[in-house]
């Protein structure tokens, strides 16, 4: 059986980078899907459902990340996460 893998390159746009709140939001989105989700920064690859793992990336504004998902709803998962990041995690006011 073929398993689909989807990948998307995204850039962190919000000024504060991937801190606790965005990491929390990513996990909430990722947890809605069944597929395997990993976020990569350079050679680092972490579980997209673990806040602590996402924080180890210390992804500042301007950092490129790769969202990779594998499984039946992989495409939707990748798109949802990419959208979240592109919309600056909906951070209207900087904390």
């Amino acid at each position: 059986m073929e398993v689909s893998t989807y990948r998307r390159v995204v850039t962190i746009v919000n000024p504060n980078g991937l801190h606790a709140r965005p990491a929390d939001q990513m996990v909430k989105v990722a947890s809605q899907y069944k597929c395997r989700i990993e976020i990569c920064k350079g050679h680092e690859r972490v579980d997209g459902r673990s806040i602590i793992s996402l924080l180890t990336l210390a992804a500042e504004q301007g950092t490129e990340l790769v969202i990779e998902a594998e499984g039946e709803d992989a495409q939707s998962a990748v798109e949802a996460l990419a959208e979240l990041i592109a919309h600056q995690f909906h951070e209207a006011h900087e904390e």
């Binding site: 801190h19 709140r21 602590i52 180890t56 500042e60 904390e95």
Partner: protein, 158 residues
């Protein structure tokens, strides 16, 4: 960034007395005040800012750890402390677990990178089960600093 770069040793509390979220935040901020890291007349403003940040979303990041924090104009560099709660505190964490280990961070408004790197250090170390467990079992501030120093020493580069 190492723990020694942002954790104020004199503000470490290995046995928090408070058992609720606001209580432990106040206690940790008070510890920073007593350590001379924040100003007396900024205490209330800082506590309120930290609590407000919690309202946006719990800083309970899982594994029984929370990272309450805020930016504040009264500090010109990242100020932090660590505390242990024996009884555990309900932080409305994503994983539903009580929090036994807290890192409180106050950063200057214009330096998001420092805050991010502190979170990076904290989270990297927390991936080590032993480190996590030993910290939660710490009985004194010296126990805590020993563990933090060891973690700093084990870091390759910074």
């Amino acid at each position: 960034m190492k723990f020694s770069d942002f954790i104020s040793r004199e503000a470490i509390r290995a046995n928090l007395r408070a058992e609720d979220k606001e209580g432990v935040i106040r206690e940790m901020t008070q510890a920073l005040l007593e350590a001379g890291r924040i100003a007396t007349d900024e205490y209330e403003s800082i506590v309120k800012a930290i609590l407000k940040r919690e309202e946006l979303g719990s800083t309970g990041i899982g594994r029984g750890v929370a990272v309450p924090h805020t930016k504040h104009p009264s500090v010109d560099r990242l100020v932090g402390t660590v505390a242990v709660s024996d009884s555990g505190v309900d932080f409305h964490s994503l994983d539903g677990e009580k929090v036994e280990l807290l890192f409180l961070l106050i950063s200057p408004p214009d330096r998001p990178g420092d805050h991010l790197r502190a979170l990076e250090n904290i989270s990297r170390q927390l991936r080590d089960d032993t480190f996590c467990r030993f910290l939660k079992q710490a009985k004194t501030a010296v126990d805590v600093t020993t563990l933090l120093d060891e973690a700093d020493g084990n870091q390759v580069g910074s």
